[in-house]
Every structure is written in structure tokens, then in C-alpha cells.
């Protein structure tokens, strides 16, 4: 099937305006008759639920944490982009659009990305009105910095805690709606299934994580804002609870999963310290504004960093990419780091690390300025490694960080299943094959504050409110399926913990479907993963019962989905016989080792349809058409 992204016609800059004119509205008096489910309360979910509630819809919002304020958006450090051009350094909506398309290695939809750039400015206004304490200069104006891959300073930030502050802003708007009675937040509640009635999304099945009760909610539309899936690699910068379950269950109910192989590896994370490692901690890449990346020039040089003279150091990013230097995009920086370490020039225990050195910046600006900019990051680094980065260079290494892929959505953020909308990191839409720094926060809030309030109305206006209730047999069936799965997990009583399976899967993913992929490695992964899955269902041990708070059961359910999803990710990577953005296939590279795209054959979105657990999924393609940009080679030299 050829998929239609439903991009409005007309000139790029007018598409969104025209479309807003064309879309149907829901009469103010009718809005309260509609019920909308929003799963997830991160930037995307909280902003959507608050905005929809304010418009007058009845909203049920869900999150697995104990408070909606704890979604993983909270952990974003660096900042959020907008095309305000406050510094007068040449930024514009078109430039932000172009940078995002180019950064995504020409694998995203022009119309979506342009809209994102257009609404970016309103996001900053909205956050400031909420009281988000962005950094300011002494005159009281907002301060900007430049961020990974951008040559203009368009990033707004709140110390090293931008995500936290933006999320608390959205959470405050959400709290206001809770008080107003338009939104009900169901915390500690996990979505385990999507309920589809006559081809349209009409509800969800959830488990109350405190009582263990499995129950259903019906609605006129469902928004999934459930974040990214890179925990399929076991170790990542995501929170422990981040999962693919909501998305994957929707996929199993017919929603297409797009470009799962586009995963981002972040170049600046704290290296692994041992087998016990449960997560990897990101050091914001804003650090690369002032830190210089290097490794020893000679293999196996074990001298401490301060004893290695300038001549014996290789500032490899500055050397290879003179115009971007230490600010080269994430995929490029990550691969360069791996290359240096594979070459035997890595530093720290195990040799899986490179230096990020602040000594020049400290000389130039002084300790205090560096402390003001990055104090909390330096503290975090010291807590974890016991090393003082003011005195010695940080050690960093790439880690899994972000999922560009996600459920397929059209321009209206609606999946192929009518009534199912997908927002934020959970969808695939705006970042192509690689996301630029500070653009995920922008996208989550754009989707929630400024896109979904319009596009969902267009769908709802064509439906009768409350047409489906939980009395529909599909709900009963879904609940029974989920209860059966829970019973099954609890009854296996095997010898391995769910976590052991997760770690095993993660190793396969990192080795065979990680930073560098090849036909051979991917085929190997597709061979191994079903075996792990099979063993899981025979040999996993889940203690306790289903009728209580049971964290082992929660974990096992999520890992069961990862064990299927990992294979889908590998299949997508195998299908894509090109290198682009975060997807690097060793067979497809330039003589100098850069990614080699194949625009002729792969300028499309790969959207996968579920066909059964051990069946090959079916691919559907959405061709990508570029009318406003020239498909250049993404050079950062």
C-alpha cells in the first residue's frame, strides 16, 4: 500500500494556515460531549491534555509514574529551539525548517517540519507566560545559545534543566485543568492495549499498578504520547520505565510502525562502569560548546590526560569537521568516538571513552563562568564518577538516547487507524533519520499545544460523541487477553529474571543493530532474538501476584514487548539498504566513511504492518517528496 501523508497543498509557508481554514471545528457547546484519552503526561501528553481540557473536552490522562510531573521529559537538559531570531544572527522559520530537514538527512516530511518551525515561536511565548524561568541576560531579555549542529543561537534554556522546567510548565497547565474538572489524571496506571472498534481507536485497556486491577476506558479518540523506545537496547539515557508497550500494542492492533530503525545515539554520555549498570547518564551536549573532544594520538597511550602534550592529542572532530568542529551532529560525533576507541585510542577503564576537555574554556572564561553554565552537570558527573571535571577532562562515550521512529501518522498526527493520534517522541514524524539537539522538546510541545487542538477537532466533528462504550465486546475481549497474558507470565515460574532477558536482548541490539549495522549483523539479530523470546516465555520468573503492586510483573510485560519489537527494528534496518542519519550500514558509506544515502531507492517512510508474532511484517511506503529543498549531501566538513 502506498501511504498518503495527507499534506495540504499550496505553498509550503501557507500549508498550515490553509489547512486550519479547511478543517472542521467542534462547536463550543458540543465539546464537553466528547471524551479524549491521552496516554502519557510528558511534554506532548501534558500539553495536549491541558490544551484539550481548556477547550472544553473531557480528558482522561494516564501515566505510569506516581505523578504526571515525572515523565521522562523532565530529564532533558540542554534546551529548546525556536526561530525567534532574537540574537539577530540570521535565523528564520525557513532556516530552522531547513536545518531540521537537513539534520534529519532528508528523511522527513517537508510540510510537517515547516509547521514545526512555524509554531516554535509560540511555544516560547507560552512557556514564558506559564512562568518557565528561561535564562536571561542582565537587561532582562531571554538568552540564547547555539546547540549541536546549528550555526545560529536559537536554543532557549533554563540552566541545565530545560526539560524539567518546560514539563513543570505543562504540568502546571494540566494541574489547572484538573482543578477545573476538565482533565482527570490517572497516575500509576499502565496502558496495556488499544481497543479498536470497526477499524477506529475507541479506548484502552489499562492495569492499575497499585491494585493490579485490569480495566477499560472508552473515548471518542485516543492520543498516545508515550515517549520513545530505546530501552530496547537495555542501556540508554531513558528512564527505567520507558517502554514500547503502548506503541507496540497499538501496532499489534493495526497501527503502522514507521522507521523503527532510526535511533539516535548520543555522543556525550558517561561511560559504562560495569555489568551492574542500570542506565546511562547523558551529559548535555551543550557541553560541546565549551568542551573540546580528544583522544591520544597514539594507540594505547596510558598517560593521565594532563601529561599528554598538545602534540600527542587528536582533536578528531576539529580535525575532520573544521567548520562544525566539536558541534558536529550527534550521529557523526558518536561514530567518530567509536572509531577512535575501536582504533585502540579510547580512554578510561576498558578503553570505551573519549575526553571532553574544558581546560581551554576555563582558561578563557574562568571557573565561575563555566560553573554558571554547567555547574549542575559537573556536579552530576562527579557524583557518578568521583572525578572533578574542572580539574581533569570528562570521559564520555556514546549511548542510545532517542527514537526518531515511532507510530506512523499523517500531517494531522493521526495514525492509519482513525481516532488514534500519536504525539511527541512516540510518533515518527518530524526528525527524519536523525534529530537535532533541542528539537524534541520543541516537537512535543508543538504537537500538544498547537497542532492536536486543531487536528483532533477535524476528526471528532465527523463522529458522534459517546458512540462506543466499554460495553462493546471488543473491550471485554481486550481485557481478557491482557488478564490471560498476566496469568501466563505469573505461571511460568522459570529460572531467569526478566531483567536477565532484557540485558541479553540489549547486548544483541547493541552489537548487531547498534551504531554500525550490516546485512550480516542484522540477519544474525533476526535469528537470535526469536530464540531469546522463546526462552523468555518458558523460563522467566515473575514473583508475586497480579492483584497487587508488582514491579516484576510490570517489567516482564514491557520486556515481552521489547523482545518482539527488537526484531521489527532489525528488520527495518535490514530493509533500508542505505545509510542515513542515525542508521549507518557499513556497506553504504563514502570513501571517507561518511553515510551514503540512496535517494533514488529509499526516499520513503517505511511503515510496518503487524502480521503475527512469528510472521514477517508487511511494509507500506510513504514516498517523501521534496519541493522546497535540494537533497544535498549532508556535509558538516
Amino acid at each position: 500500500m502506498i501511504l498518503d501523508g495527507k499534506c495540504p497543498s499550496g505553498p509550503l509557508a501557507q500549508k498550515w494556515d490553509n489547512h486550519r481554514q479547511d478543517m472542521k471545528l467542534v462547536n463550543p457547546a458540543n465539546k464537553r460531549k466528547y471524551r479524549i484519552i491521552v496516554v502519557g503526561t510528558g511534554l506532548a501528553g501534558a500539553s495536549a491534555a491541558a490544551s484539550l481540557g481548556e477547550l472544553g473536552y473531557n480528558v482522561d490522562a494516564f501515566c505510569y509514574q506516581d505523578s504526571s510531573r515525572r515523565a521522562h521529559s523532565i530529564a532533558a537538559q540542554g534546551g529548546i529551539n525556536a526561530a525567534k531570531n532574537y540574537p539577530n544572527d540570521g535565523d528564520s522559520i525557513f532556516r530552522l525548517f531547513y536545518d531540521t530537514i537537513k539534520g534529519g538527512d532528508f528523511r522527513s516530511r517537508e510540510a510537517n517540519v515547516y509547521r514545526l518551525a512555524q509554531v516554535s515561536n509560540s511555544i516560547i511565548d507560552q512557556c514564558v507566560a506559564q512562568g518557565v524561568p528561561f535564562a536571561r541576560d542582565y537587561a532582562g531579555y531571554l538568552d540564547n545559545r547555539s546547540f549541536g549542529g546549528a550555526q545560529v543561537a536559537r536554543t532557549f534554556y533554563a540552566r541545565g534543566q530545560t526539560g524539567q522546567q518546560l514539563l513543570l510548565g505543562a504540568y502546571s497547565a494540566l494541574s489547572r485543568q484538573v482543578k477545573a474538572g476538565t482533565v482527570k489524571v490517572h497516575t500509576r496506571t499502565e496502558m496495556l492495549d488499544l481497543v479498536v472498534v470497526d477499524g477506529e481507536a475507541k479506548g484502552i485497556t489499562v492495569r492499575d499498578l497499585v491494585t493490579g486491577q485490569v480495566g477499560c476506558y472508552a473515548a471518542d479518540a485516543v492520543c498516545l504520547c508515550t515517549g520513545g523506545y530505546v530501552n530496547v537496547y537495555y542501556l540508554s539515557t531513558n528512564a527505567q520505565g520507558c517502554n514500547v508497550t503502548a506503541n507496540y500494542r497499538a501496532y499489534k492492533k493495526g497501527a503502522f510502525f514507521a522507521n523503527p530503525c532510526y535511533t539516535q545515539i548520543h555522543p556525550t554520555c558517561i561511560p559504562v562502569s560495569g555489568e551492574h549498570q542500570s542506565k546511562l547518564t547523558l551529559m548535555s551536549e551543550s557541553l560541546r560548546n565549551d568542551g573540546r573532544v580528544w583522544v591520544p594520538l597514539k594507540k594505547g597511550d596510558k598517560r593521565p590526560p594532563h601529561e599528554i602534550p598538545e602534540n600527542d592529542r587528536d582533536y578528531y572532530l576539529e580535525r575532520k569537521y573544521p567548520s562544525f568542529g566539536n558541534l558536529a551532529p550527534r550521529d557523526i560525533s558518536s561514530r567518530a568516538a567509536k572509531e577512535a576507541c575501536d582504533d585502540g585510542r579510547g580512554v578510561g577503564p576498558g578503553g570505551f571513552g573519549v575526553y571532553l576537555d574544558f581546560s581551554d574554556a576555563i582558561k578563557r572564561l574562568g571557573d565561575d563562568k563555566i560553573r554558571e553554565r554547567y555547574g549542575n552537570l559537573f556536579e552530576m558527573y562527579e557524583r557518578i564518577t568521583d572525578e572533578n571535571a574542572y580539574k581533569q577532562p570528562m570521559r564520555i562515550y556514546p549511548a542510545l538516547h532517542y527514537a526518531m521512529g515511532g507510530l506512523w501518522v499523517d500531517y494531522n498526527l493521526q495514525s492509519n487507524l482513525p481516532g488514534l493520534f500519536v504525539l511527541g517522541e512516540a510518533n515518527f514524524s518530524d526528525h527524519g533519520a536523525n534529530r537535532l539537539g533541542a528539537s524534541a522538546l520543541m516537537q512535543g510541545l508543538a504537537d500538544g499545544y498547537f497542532v492536536i487542538p486543531y487536528t483532533i477537532a477535524n476528526y471528532l466533528a465527523m463522529t458522534r460523541p459517546g458512540a462506543v462504550t466499554t460495553n462493546h465486546p471488543e473491550f471485554d475481549k481486550s481485557r481478557q487477553d491482557i488478564e490471560n497474558q498476566i496469568k501466563k507470565l505469573l505461571s511460568i515460574n522459570g529460572r531467569k529474571t526478566a531483567k536477565e532477558f532484557h540485558r541479553e536482548l540489549g547486548k544483541v541490539m547493541w552489537e548487531h543493530v547498534g551504531m554500525e549495522r550490516s546485512e550480516q549483523s542484522l540477519k544474525r539479530a533476526i535469528e537470535i532474538i526469536p530464540g531469546i523470546r522463546e526462552e523468555f516465555w518458558k523460563n522467566v520468573r515473575v514473583t508475586g501476584s497480579g492483584a497487587e503492586l508488582n514491579q516484576e510483573l510490570e517489567r516482564a510485560g514491557r520486556i515481552a514487548d521489547f523482545l518482539e519489537f527488537g526484531e521489527l527494528l532489525a528488520r527495518d534496518a535490514l530493509n533500508r539498504n542505505e545509510s542515513c542519519g542515525g542508521h549507518f550500514r557499513v556497506e553504504f558509506q563514502m570513501p571517507d566513511g561518511e553515510a551514503k544515502r540512496d535517494d533514488e531507492n529509499f526516499s520513503y517512510v517505511a511503515a510496518w504492518e503487524f502480521k503475527g508474532v512469528d510472521q514477517t511484517p508487511e511494509i507500506h511506503k510513504e514516498p517523501l517528496v521534496f519541493e522546497n529543498v535540494h537533497l544535498g549531501i549532508r556535509s558538516y566538513k
Binding site: S67, A75, G131, P133, D137, R159, T187, Q240, S273, T543
Partner: protein, 246 residues
């Protein structure tokens, strides 16, 4: 390292709880405190026993989910550090460690180390926001904010809502938490319009939820992993008096 743990175990809100002794063996000093508990839990699961239930998510000190009293101190011995960021190198081989949940009237226990902190959400719901609509707000640079005010707002906004302040307070007060939000918004022009009402409804909600009042023990500040200062409580009191005088 080998450690001797005493962990609070309680099946549910109405069950009796007790400190259970267990061993943590072969612990690396580079592990985080939660990774140490992970190891203990893995062993428990393999033996078919119920693992220790505890709240956690980001494991990087920002989501405010983790919540354990370690040797009598919320978040443990290291200053300005959440449990998830606390590392085992802060302990010595052979140490005994007591691990308990947050204890406060307003935080009913759910299981083992997990408590219900939704009362904090309800304080925010009472009025911890500016009532701006989505869209229809002025340009961000139309509101100039002197840097010192913006800095105070940011200092206050760093609160992660973990509730350590409540757990540390002999009165189980949520004054530090409430004052941080009051200060953040009262320091900014866009928050001033509702400042008087906000401080009243938030403090009222705080008392209704069963949190105690502040009698200047300052344990909250000592326990706060984000360095939120008690001077914000003074600010809350000033705002409160101002609200009642006008």
C-alpha cells in the same frame, strides 16, 4: 563490598510492617544505591521471594521519584544528592544500612518503600500556576525580567517534588515544597497577578492534606537534594501576610 541491610517490608497499607535483615554481597563501590538494591532484588527473585518494592524512574536525580530514608536521612548521607545518584563508595565494607520509606501523615504507605505522594500534586492543583490560556499570550521578550529575579525563580523552580522535605520534617510539613512554587511564581511579573490568591489557596490545600506547619527546624533544607532554601519559606510568609493585608 558486603553490606548488612535492614529494609522496611510491608505488604500493603493495612498490613503490619517490619525491618527485614538481608545481605548485599559483592557490591561494587561504583554502583549506585539503587543498583545495589537491584542486585539484592535479582537474587530474591531467583529464589522465588518477593523483591523490595521501591519507587524510581529517571535515575539521574531529576524526576523526584526515588524516595528512601537511609540511616535516618531522607535520600541518605550525601548532601544535595537523591538516592538514585548516591553511590556505594560513600559506604564502607561491612556497614549496616537501614532503609525505610518516607514517613508522613500525608504520605500513606502503599508497599515496602513506596508511598502515595499525590497530596503534593493537589497542592499544585489548588493554584500553583499562572492561569494563562494556550495561545494568546504576549511575545516572550515583551515581559522583561531582571536577571536577579529570574535567578531566584529558577533557584526555586529546581524543586523536584520528591517529598524529602516532608519526610525530614518533625511536623511532616510541606512548607518548603509549597514555598518553592510560591516563590518561583511570585518572583516573576507573569506570576504577580495571582500571587495573593495563590499563596492563600496553596497553603490552605497544604493544611487540608494533613501536612503540618513549619516551626523552623530547617531539617527540610538539610534533606533537600536540590538545595531549596528555607528563605523561600520566609518569602511565602511575606506573601501570605501581604495577601491578607491587601
Amino acid at each position: 563490598m558486603n553490606l548488612n541491610l535492614y529494609v522496611w517490608r510491608q505488604k500493603g497499607p493495612n498490613a503490619a510492617g517490619k525491618l527485614q535483615q538481608m545481605q548485599a554481597k559483592n557490591i561494587s563501590p561504583d554502583m549506585s544505591f539503587l543498583e545495589m538494591i537491584d542486585e539484592v532484588n535479582e537474587d530474591l527473585v531467583r529464589e522465588g521471594k518477593e523483591p523490595i518494592a521501591f519507587d524510581h524512574d529517571c535515575r539521574e536525580g531529576i524526576c523526584g521519584t526515588c524516595s528512601q530514608v537511609i540511616n535516618g536521612i531522607p535520600h541518605g548521607p550525601q548532601e544535595r544528592t537523591t538516592v538514585c545518584q548516591l553511590h556505594m563508595r560513600k559506604f564502607r565494607d561491612g556497614d549496616s544500612i537501614y532503609i525505610e520509606p518516607w514517613r508522613a501523615k500525608a504520605f500513606p504507605l502503599i508497599k515496602d518503600l513506596i508511598v502515595d505522594r499525590s497530596a503534593l500534586d493537589r497542592i499544585i492543583q489548588a493554584g500553583g500556576y499562572t492561569s494563562c490560556h494556550t495561545g494568546g499570550v504576549p511575545d516572550a521578550n515583551a515581559i522583561l525580567i531582571p536577571k536577579p529575579d529570574a535567578d531566584v525563580a529558577m533557584d526555586a523552580a529546581e524543586c523536584i517534588g520528591c517529598g524529602a522535605c516532608v519526610a525530614a520534617c518533625p511536623n511532616g510539613s510541606a512548607m518548603l515544597f509549597t514555598s518553592a512554587k510560591v516563590t518561583q511564581l511570585a518572583s516573576l511579573p507573569q506570576g504577580r497577578a495571582e500571587a495573593a490568591r495563590r499563596v492563600c489557596v496553596m497553603t490552605e490545600a497544604m493544611l487540608n492534606e494533613g501536612f503540618g506547619n513549619c516551626s523552623n527546624h530547617y531539617e527540610c533544607q538539610a534533606a533537600c537534594p536540590k538545595g531549596i532554601k528555607v528563605s523561600f519559606i520566609a518569602k511565602l510568609n511575606r506573601e501570605f501576610i501581604k495577601a491578607h493585608m491587601s
